[in-house]
């Protein structure tokens, strides 16, 4: 009962955390942030983009399901966009550090607005 009451708050916090983390990763393309450790970016790519897709697609599932799909979808998103950059000329103008967090925010916000 108590947890159910807290759920909207948890969802708001989750959204804020993901958006903030995504913006931080996007900021790493700026020359002023060159001194940021890669340890900031690596966990993001391992989990967060896929987590957003897993939230969107998984209507039910255990914690293991969510972790599995989060990692898988993250890998899929990264590898697909990397591949598209190698195939489409000129697409490297926008770095992956911008595209992936941008798409992640869009998916997360969409999922949030859907009220899942």
């Amino acid at each position: 009962m108590e947890i159910q009451r807290l759920e909207p708050v948890i969802r708001q916090l989750r959204l804020a955390g993901v958006v903030g983390y995504s913006l931080l990763v996007m900021a790493t393309v700026l020359p002023e942030t060159m001194h940021f450790s890669n340890a900031v970016v690596v966990p993001y790519y391992l989990f967060i983009p896929g987590y957003s897709v897993a939230l969107l697609l998984l209507q039910r599932g255990t914690v293991i399901d969510r972790i599995f799909y989060s990692v898988v979808w993250s890998m899929v998103i990264f590898a697909s966009l990397y591949s598209i950059e190698t195939v489409v000329p000129g697409s490297t103008v926008i770095p992956l550090n911008v595209i992936i967090p941008y798409l992640t925010i869009i998916v997360f916000v969409y999922d949030h607005l859907q009220g899942r």
């Binding site: 890998m75 990264f78 590898a79 697909s80």
Partner: protein, 706 residues
């Protein structure tokens, strides 16, 4: 062919027509034997000539003419010191795709004419005709060259599309020219046209008519006017069933009471059949192999290879099988690694081809026990072989005329390295060929059963969670592919004959086991077996998702309608169909370019995930496609009715096409393809689930019933 096309230079501009300047005029004429049929091939007459003015030659000059015209005859006439000389038969070295003519003009030659007459092939498919346009290339002459190409086609035929090197679409640019033959029209086309699509002038109105009729049928169906038709069909069905029941089939039923063919399509039973088939193949190969005939890989001119074969016959006592680069060289590593060759012979070979052959063959010579090199071999190549494989190297004067001492030494070396049957059996060539034919059939059956197992596992209803179901399908898919490929390697090694090969030319009989059945490398039957295996497995499994006939008819009907369409969309679908048919590596147009983009995407994902970093773990787009197909296969039950049919057909095509690479027998490539393949599969799933989402909104319900 591809190499030849890549070599085709841009057309030189300027003074080629002026006879006072050194120049060469290349004229190609192809007389297309056009036929319109559902499927078939035909041979067209082709003629080519090279007229050269070479007034500046002060010393003898050697150059090459390369052409993909399959030659009947080739002759050379030249004028030197005011005297005309003719060579009625110019020797050539012919490979699978091209013939190379080395020509030497003596000093003070002022002009020459080289003529070739021969044939080129065309393909008939779905009442269109794909005609190849021959190419003649002059290399090493050092003068500007002009190219002119004429196509002669029967009147009433439309030149519908033109494609250039690498299958790229070219704008229609032909001009009518006098044919001089009644009932035929002649067209002057751009010299970089390598493929033309011809169709009857009736094709356009006929396809528009078919499309209109189909649209009317769809409209009538939408209005629900087929109810009476269905009643008639049901009455016919009942009559047919009544007739069948009057046939006295009950004794057969009594033989196996309770037997139902559909009961076979359970994953457990199919897995057992798959393993049984594998055991049968391995056992038969162990009992019957290795091939009793000596097999030699001979890198020499084809004419000389025949003489070398006769020489080897004197050494071993029976007729050895000689394989030359003209038959296959890109698969040499695989052929040699399964012990196909006991001997490799190197002799004179056209200098233009030595580099490419060297790249493919020398690395695999470590798998060949004896290497014979004669004095006419390219010196750099001979030196490389001698330094790389000193323990196997046997230098001879002339491989076409071995001395008795050389024959004796070669015989003793071959005797020392010969393989014997595990059970001491000595099968005759006839018996061995029968065994090989059996293995070939089983190798295709293995793919069918294995893929059928995957289909049934993916579609049977179970109480597994989604994740467990996904993991079990992926695990089973990886097992089926890796196990099948391992079995192919085992059986091929036991037989000393590859069950199949990836790049072998179609129609080759001596190179592979499936070749004995007339399938060349066996890609097409494996593709068909894999495609059908998945379909049968999915549809036949107990508790499989219901695939309604109406959905299947709808999807297939749309496909056929698009195929019949006479405009760009129809051309695209036609080009896509051509990609998957055994038409001798014909690939062209926007569909081909799209397939290259898909291939580029697959390679991109592969390189992001560690594939192709070193030559050991090379990427294979086909293998990755197989593993990619497994993921949507596992999600079939999650899709709406129509999406499921589309996904099923796509998955069967992907998995079937990727499954062809089982016969490639390159386990390293398989290992590196698994992870990228699965990742690509999830990307496919994302797209297919998007399509399913659209269907959900259109239909108003999400999941397929059942």
């Amino acid at each position: 062919m591809a190499a030849l096309i890549l070599m085709l230079p841009s057309i030189p501009q300027g003074r080629g027509q002026d006879p006072t300047y050194p120049s060469a005029q290349v004229l190609v004429t192809v007389h297309e034997s056009v036929a319109y049929d559902l499927y078939g091939s035909s041979v067209s007459q082709a003629y080519g000539s090279v007229n050269g003015t070479v007034s500046s030659i002060g010393s003898s000059t050697t150059f090459h003419i390369i052409s993909n015209i399959r030659p009947y005859s080739a002759n050379l006439t030249y004028v030197a010191n005011g005297k005309t000389t003719s060579e009625p038969e110019v020797p050539s070295s012919v490979t699978a795709q091209v013939a190379t003519y080395p020509l030497t003009l003596p000093a003070h030659t002022t002009s020459f004419r080289f003529s070739i007459s021969g044939s080129t092939t065309g393909v008939e498919l779905l009442w269109r005709y794909l005609g190849s346009v021959p190419i003649i290339e002059v290399t090493g002459l050092g003068v500007p060259t002009n190219y002119t190409t004429h196509i002669v086609i029967p009147s009433g035929t439309i030149l519908s599309q033109e494609y250039g090197p690498n299958g790229l679409s070219l704008p229609l640019s032909y001009k009518a020219s006098p044919s001089g033959e009644s009932g035929y029209s002649s067209f002057l086309v751009q010299p970089d046209v390598s493929l033309v699509v011809l169709q009857s002038d009736l094709f356009l109105p006929a396809s528009i008519g078919v499309t209109c009729v189909a649209l009317v049928i769809i409209a009538l169906a939408a209005l629900g006017l087929f109810g009476q038709g269905r009643q008639i069909l049901q009455r016919l069905r009942r009559s047919l069933l009544n007739f069948v029941s009057t046939l006295h089939l009950s004794p057969l039923r009594r033989l196996r009471p309770g037997f139902r063919f559909r009961n076979l399509f359970q994953p457990r039973k199919l897995l057992a059949l798959f393993l049984l088939c594998a055991l049968l193949m391995a056992s038969a190969a162990a009992i019957g192999g290795p091939d009793p005939r000596l097999k030699a890989y001979v890198v020499a001119d084809p004419a000389e290879a025949t003489i070398i074969q006769k020489n080897l016959q004197q050494v071993v006592g029976n007729t050895p099988i000689v394989v030359t680069p003209a038959q296959d060289y890109s698969d040499f590593a695989v052929m040699s690694s399964v012990g196909q060759f006991e001997l490799a012979v190197f002799s004179s070979y056209p200098p233009a081809g030595v580099g490419e052959i060297q790249g493919f063959v020398v690395g695999g010579l470590g798998n060949v026990p004896v290497i014979v090199v004669d004095n006419s071999t390219n010196s750099a190549l001979a030196k490389l072989i001698e330094t790389t494989y000193p323990g196997k190297f046997l230098q001879v004067q002339n491989a076409s005329a071995l001395t008795s001492a050389e024959q004796h030494e070669l015989a003793s070396l071959l005797a020392a390295s010969s393989r014997t049957n595990l059970f001491g059996l000595n099968l005759s060539v006839r018996d061995f060929n029968a065994l090989v034919a059996l293995e070939a059939v089983l190798s295709i059956l293995l793919v069918f059963i294995g893929f059928c197992y995957l289909g049934s596992l993916a579609s049977e209803s179970s109480s597994q969670t989604d994740l467990t179901h996904l993991v079990s399908v992926l695990g089973a898919g990886i097992f089926v592919f890796v196990f099948s490929e391992a079995l192919y390697v085992t059986v091929s090694s036991l037989l000393a004959l590859p069950l199949s090969l990836h790049a072998v030319i179609s129609g080759a009989h001596d190179l592979t086991a499936v070749g004995l059945l007339g399938f060349g490398g066996g890609s097409t039957p494996r593709l068909a077996a894999g495609f059908l295996g998945v379909l049968v497995g999915v549809v036949g499994a107990r508790g499989s998702p219901p695939i309604k006939k109406s959905d299947l008819a709808f999807v297939l009907g749309i496909g056929l309608l698009l195929l019949a369409n006479p405009f760009s969309i129809g051309q695209f679908v036609f080009q896509g169909l051509v990609l998957f048919l055994p038409l001798g590596n014909i690939a062209f147009g926007a569909a081909y370019v799209s397939s290259l983009s898909l291939k580029g995407f697959i390679y991109g994902v592969g390189s992001a995930l560690g594939a192709g970093v070193t030559p050991t773990y090379l990427m294979s787009a086909g293998k990755m496609l197989f593993f990619a197909g497994l993921v949507p296969l596992a999600y079939l039950r999650k899709m709406g009715r129509t999406t499921m049919v589309i996904a099923l057909l796509l998955v069967a095509l992907f998995v079937g096409d990727g499954g062809v690479r089982i016969g490639e027998m390159t386990p390293d490539k398989t290992v590196i393809a698994i992870v990228p393949g699965l990742v690509i599969g999830f990307a496919f799933v994302f797209l297919i689930l998007g399509l399913a989402s659209i269907e959900k909104h259109v239909r108003g319900d999400w999941r397929s019933k059942g």
